[in-house]
């Protein structure tokens, strides 16, 4: 499949802070790429370079075959961006915001007005359309920002943490809107800190940390790499943590991590591991106060992936 986005060897530093350290990735036309990474990983920097807001120090990025640095002027009408912080005008109404953006895309006045009305209806902003954005909730603001990034019907869309700070209901609503866009053929690059979000929306996930790609694949493949489940063991006596870790280390494919008296074992077979852990702890006469199976948290995905990355890097 042809690539709508091609990034090779992209680097960017702010002074001595290296934000992107040689990023390579591609997004197939009509597909969704989820860019997953912790705070400061370089997600926003990458999105800003791809949307012509920032120029890279080195490397190349092409979108729809156009170079983001050299062909920025021709590229802009074909891109949409909803940034990490909603960039809408607080003092204008929702309708005025959308019309203004339409006019700045050089749509004829009437077309811009019609487009604004369409988007207002589609994003369910009808009731608030003629009120200043100042009084909007976080969810409404996000919807308006997304609407503004669709005024030009862009074939390639960038969303930087579109649901951060939203309540579960607004998040679900936004996911449905995004899914509809993708059905209509839009190529989407989406950054997020939520594994669940990447899982639901993305065809492929790229994990970045410290400005480098540390893993990529489908959501399922990544979760398998990390271990599908986690067994938590809380030992009664803090002094027994190291003893428990050595007893349990043969059960998980990673060394169990610990925080205080809590040990976490990534595993594929949660219940089986739980049973075996109980037996081993019993045999070693280590008292536990809590024993449970759960899904891995994003933290653990990151921790595991970065730990693995370090091991790979070692000779």
């Amino acid at each position: 499949m042809p690539h709508a986005v091609e990034v090779a060897g992209l680097r960017k530093a702010y002074g001595s802070t290296v934000a992107l350290d040689g990023v390579d990735l591609t997004v197939a036309a009509g597909s969704v790429l989820g860019l997953l990474g912790p705070n400061g990983a370089g997600k926003t920097t990458l999105v800003r370079i791809l949307t012509t807001l920032l120029s890279p120090d080195a490397g190349q990025a092409r979108i729809l075959g156009l170079d983001v640095a050299g062909d920025a002027e021709r590229l802009r009408p074909r891109l949409g961006l909803a940034g990490q912080h909603a960039s809408v005008d607080e003092l204008l109404t929702a309708r005025e915001n959308l019309r203004m953006v339409g006019r700045l895309y050089h749509l004829p006045r009437r077309t811009a007005a019609r487009r604004a009305d369409e988007l207002i209806e589609r994003f369910d902003l009808g009731d608030a359309a003629d009120r200043p954005v100042k009084g909007f909730s976080g969810g409404m603001r996000r919807r308006l920002d997304l609407a503004a990034s669709l005024v030009n019907e862009p074939p390639v869309l960038f969303l930087d943490e579109p649901t951060t700070g939203l309540d579960p209901r607004s998040r679900l609503g936004l996911w449905e809107i995004i899914e509809r866009l993708v059905e209509d053929g839009t190529t989407l690059l989406l950054t997020t800190q939520y594994l669940e979000e990447a899982d639901r929306l993305a065809d492929r996930i790229v994990v970045i940390d410290h400005g480098q790609v540390i893993a990529e694949g489908t959501g399922d493949a990544l979760k398998e790499r990390v271990g599908g489940q986690v067994v938590d063991v809380r030992v009664a006596d803090l002094a027994e943590v190291e003893h428990a870790r050595s007893v349990l280390s043969s059960l998980a494919h990673e060394t169990p991590t610990s925080e205080g008296a809590l040990l976490s074992l990534p595993t594929d077979d949660g219940v089986g591991t739980l049973v075996r852990a109980a037996q081993k702890l019993e045999a070693a006469e280590i008292a536990v106060t809590d024993l449970a199976v759960r899904r891995p948290s994003l933290d653990e995905v990151f921790l595991t992936l970065t730990a693995r990355d370090d091991q790979d890097a070692a000779p």
């Binding site: 729809l64 074909r78 203004m100 006019r103 749509l107 589609r122 074939p155 936004l174 809107i177």
Partner: protein
């Protein structure tokens, strides 16, 4: 209806080229988004640049109307200065005119645009902070439009404030002593001076981090400069070094020209030419500086 009530058929129109193939649509449809690119004829680019500037100006003018308190305080403040100086210093300051108000009011015109100029910096700093400029930068609009739209809107506000000051002055007994044309020229001259100052503060706004910093920078710079000029007192009444400084100040040039044009304090042409020259110098320095700062800002 909830956020999920998305209707189909309003997505990218079916006649738009599908994104497959990675090939850009090179001739966007008549009604589609259009970029300003280097390969277009100059007049097309100019027309779109003008249209973009007009859109941004309109947006900024709406902001004035939607912030009534700001509008109120920005008009009350110069009125307060007129009243304070006219009544407190009447007779206490030695001026070439019989009545201090006659001397003061053209100066107040200049003072009011000088103190408001920092609003250009505040407006730009706010737009940067709130990401509005990021939105603009992703659009295929003229690069010049944000600064042009900002300064044009501020010019409109300056004209409004100077007219208001003239109205207040007339109510207090001020009289234009030249002729209506020169009175209009005085108001235009002061507004033009305010326009040049807007470019100074556009630069300040793009280079300082945050609207409050921009606001204080404006106050710290403009306050002493306005007092060290012929706005309130004649330059001749100042101590030697200050008089030298004041005689080089574009604020003095503007105040002298406004005075000559509105009350005929002397021949109008020399101070007007001097003021137009200093306005040209300010613009020649700060327009390129601001444009460069805009390209680089965050």
């Amino acid at each position: 209806m909830t956020a999920s009530g998305v209707t189909s058929g309003t997505g990218p129109s079916p006649d738009a080229d599908p994104p497959q193939g990675g090939v850009p649509r090179d001739a966007p449809s008549e009604a589609g988004p259009r970029a300003i690119t280097a390969d277009q004829p100059a007049w097309t680019r100019l027309r779109w640049a003008a249209s973009d500037a007009a859109v941004v100006t309109g947006r900024n003018l709406r902001h004035f109307v939607r912030q009534p308190q700001l509008l109120l305080f920005s008009t009350v403040q110069p009125v307060m200065f007129v009243l304070l100086f006219a009544f407190v210093f009447d007779g206490a300051i030695d001026v070439p005119t019989d009545d201090y108000l006659q001397y003061l009011l053209p100066g107040i015109f200049v003072q009011s645009v000088a103190f408001r100029a920092a609003q250009t910096a505040v407006g730009l700093a706010e737009d940067l902070d709130r990401g509005v400029i990021d939105r603009f930068r992703t659009l295929p609009m003229a690069r010049s439009a944000v600064l042009a739209g900002r300064t044009f809107a501020d010019l409109a506000r300056n004209v409004f404030i100077v007219l208001l000051m003239a109205g207040v002055g007339l109510a207090l007994g001020f009289r234009f002593e030249t002729n209506p044309w020169l009175a209009v020229a005085a108001i235009l001259m002061v507004s033009l001076f305010g326009y040049a100052l807007s470019w100074v503060f556009a630069y300040v706004g793009l280079r300082t981090k945050g609207a409050e910093a921009a606001q204080s920078a404006g106050f710290v710079v403009m306050f002493p400069l306005v007092f060290a000029s012929s706005v309130f007192v004649p330059v001749e009444s100042m101590p030697g070094w200050l008089a030298t400084f004041a005689s080089w100040s574009p604020i003095t040039h503007a105040a002298d020209a406004a005075r000559a044009l509105s009350i005929g304090s002397g021949p109008a042409l020399p101070p007007t030419l001097l003021s137009l020259t200093s306005i040209a110098v300010v613009l020649a320095v700060f327009v390129p500086l601001s444009v460069r700062a805009y390209r680089r800002a965050r």
